[in-house]
């Protein structure tokens, strides 16, 4: 299980975006996360992906408490959690071809023996043709690029997957295709998924459980602005 307990995180001192957040993502299930813009969904995704250190609280992966974040986190813990970003164009190195984008995590882990087989398998699974694999990001559409990004996140077979508004910029058919691939991962490999989305209807159909992040009211007047913590409201 991927879990966060009492997470407090933010960007400016004194104004936390997340304030005492608890969340659990069991293996083999999809947990939906909904909430308005600015309530801390992406911050939570970064914290759970070990890319941002929380100010307080604890993240644990399969019972092992995480002690370091970003490069300070052990490689095994980092690669146990895959991350798919909202904007695929920002999430890929513009100089890389799609093949290299998908292969990069395998290269980084030195698994060169399974490189070509795994990339071909993922590309086929996600509907990325051989011709597309040789193109660079500016030569493909957002949908095609997001397919490559999901393939990259799945390349090293993560035990958990964090999808941060993965389908926000995509058409219905691409959304359906990506969700189907993620569902197969959940079913076949027992991957635990945190699906973040604005689209409540999508989450209702996709997730086994939906958590709603609600920002507390912002005080105005003489009082110091206060961003209250989200209230998990499980459905």
């Amino acid at each position: 299980m991927l879990s966060g307990t009492g997470l407090v995180a933010g960007y400016r001192k004194g104004t936390p975006v997340l304030n005492g957040m608890d969340i659990e993502i069991p293996a083999g299930s999809v947990v939906g996360l909904a909430g308005p813009s600015g309530c801390g969904k992406s911050t939570l995704a970064r914290v759970l992906s070990l890319l941002q250190q929380p100010w307080a609280g604890r993240v644990s992966v399969d019972g092992a408490v995480v002690t370091g974040f970003r490069h300070a986190a052990p490689r095994e813990q980092r690669t146990a959690i895959g991350l798919v970003f909202q904007q695929p164009r920002q999430a890929v190195d513009p100089r890389f071809t799609l093949w290299r984008i998908i292969a990069e995590p395998l290269h980084a882990l030195g698994r060169s023996e399974e490189l070509s087989g795994r990339v071909a398998e993922l590309a086929e699974h996600l509907g990325v043709s051989d011709e597309l694999l040789s193109r660079r990001p500016h030569e493909v559409s957002d949908g095609q690029l997001q397919r490559a990004c999901l393939a990259r996140a799945l390349a090293v077979r993560p035990r958990y997957l964090v999808c941060d508004e993965m389908t926000a910029m995509l058409d219905a058919s691409t959304t359906a295709a990506l969700v189907r691939v993620v569902d197969e991962q959940v079913r076949d490999a027992g991957t635990g998924v945190l699906a973040i989305s604005h689209d409540e209807r999508l989450l209702e159909r996709w997730a086994h459980r939906v958590v709603r992040l609600c920002p507390a009211p912002v005080w105005e007047g003489d009082r110091r602005p206060f961003r209250g913590g989200p209230t998990p409201d499980e459905v």
């Binding site: 970064r46 490069h71 920002q90 990069e104 980084a108 996140a153």
Partner: protein, 311 residues
């Protein structure tokens, strides 16, 4: 359907206040209409390239072909420009044309090596500071501030004075005083790149610090660093000239523009103006040619400049 610009005269539509639009051909007040700017930019690029290629070829070929023409001839001291000696002769009877081109070759070589060394050094410091951040960044940036706080020529003179008459000393005196600008540019570029989601994706995919650095960050800063190196060349030419003019630069037997100007300054008092004028003009033309190429490159690399040009 008629052309809108034809039906409403451009000058009256905006200035009289009757229309709420202005012609698409004139996007910003004060910018010239039409493609004049692009044409000028293209002329600058090709003119600069042609001039530099011609100068480099001349600097390589003329001294080699001239043989002893550039040597000492006591019977031909301080001859004014003539068809035989287009730039005249100097106080030792040497042909100024051949000597100036030989000097240009040395000056350009020293400048190019200095620019390369300082760019590599600056890029390394900037990348390490930007990529590691924290105390490493603060410490390295204070070193940059310290080097910047001392006048470059003064620091260069100190370095040259320690190892006088050596080409390596001149190269080091220029390189060790000019890497700071490159370091600052590269550091800011790396700091900006570090925040990009694709770096997060690489970290999440198990990439080490070194891998992020050499697979993602270093290739991204190469255009900026190369541009800095080219922009540094004209500056380094002048720096070398200044050191040689002060008698602290290259050894006297090695012709450089600075040496020629240093030797020729007394001759000006005797009326031999050509010894100073022609090598100086050659230096100015070379500098403008390299700067022209660098400026065209910068317009292509830096989007803000490119968009300004498009207006």
């Amino acid at each position: 359907m008629g052309d809108v610009r034809e039906s409403v005269p451009e000058s009256t539509a905006w200035e009289s206040g009757s229309g709420q639009w202005r012609s698409a051909a004139r996007k910003r007040a004060g910018t010239p209409r039409g493609g004049g700017r692009e044409v000028r930019a293209r002329i600058r690029l090709w003119g600069s390239l042609g001039t530099l290629v011609a100068l480099v070829l001349a600097a390589l070929l003329v001294p080699a072909l001239a043989g002893n023409e550039g040597g000492v001839h006591y019977e031909a001291i301080r001859l004014p420009p003539s068809p035989e000696h287009p730039f005249g002769t100097d106080t030792a009877g040497r042909d100024v044309f051949v000597r100036a081109l030989a000097g240009l070759r040395v000056s350009l070589l020293v400048a190019a090596v200095s620019a390369l060394v300082s760019t590599v050094l600056g890029a390394a410091v900037g990348t390490i500071a930007g990529a590691l951040g924290g105390w490493t960044d603060r410490l390295l940036m204070r070193v940059v501030d310290t080097v910047n706080a001392v006048p470059h020529l003064l620091l260069g003179i100190v370095i040259v004075a320690l190892y006088r008459g050596s080409v390596v000393a001149v190269v080091l005196s220029i390189a060790l005083t000019h890497w700071t600008a490159v370091a600052r540019i590269v550091r800011s570029e790396v700091l900006s790149l570090r925040q990009r989601p694709y770096i997060d994706a690489a970290i999440s995919g198990g990439a080490t610090r070194w891998r992020v650095l050499h697979r993602h960050l270093l290739p991204a800063i190469v255009p900026q660093a190369a541009l800095s190196a080219v922009l540094l060349i004209p500056h380094a030419v002048w720096h070398e000239t200044a050191l040689s003019f002060l008698g602290l630069g290259l050894p006297p037997h090695m012709a450089s523009i600075g040496n020629i100007l240093g030797d020729g300054r007394e001759a000006v008092l005797l009326g031999a103006w050509w010894i100073i004028l022609f090598p100086s003009a050659l230096l100015v033309v070379t500098t403008l040619a390299v700067s022209g190429i660098a400026a065209s490159w910068r317009d292509g690399v830096v989007p803000r400049r490119r968009s300004e040009l498009a207006l």
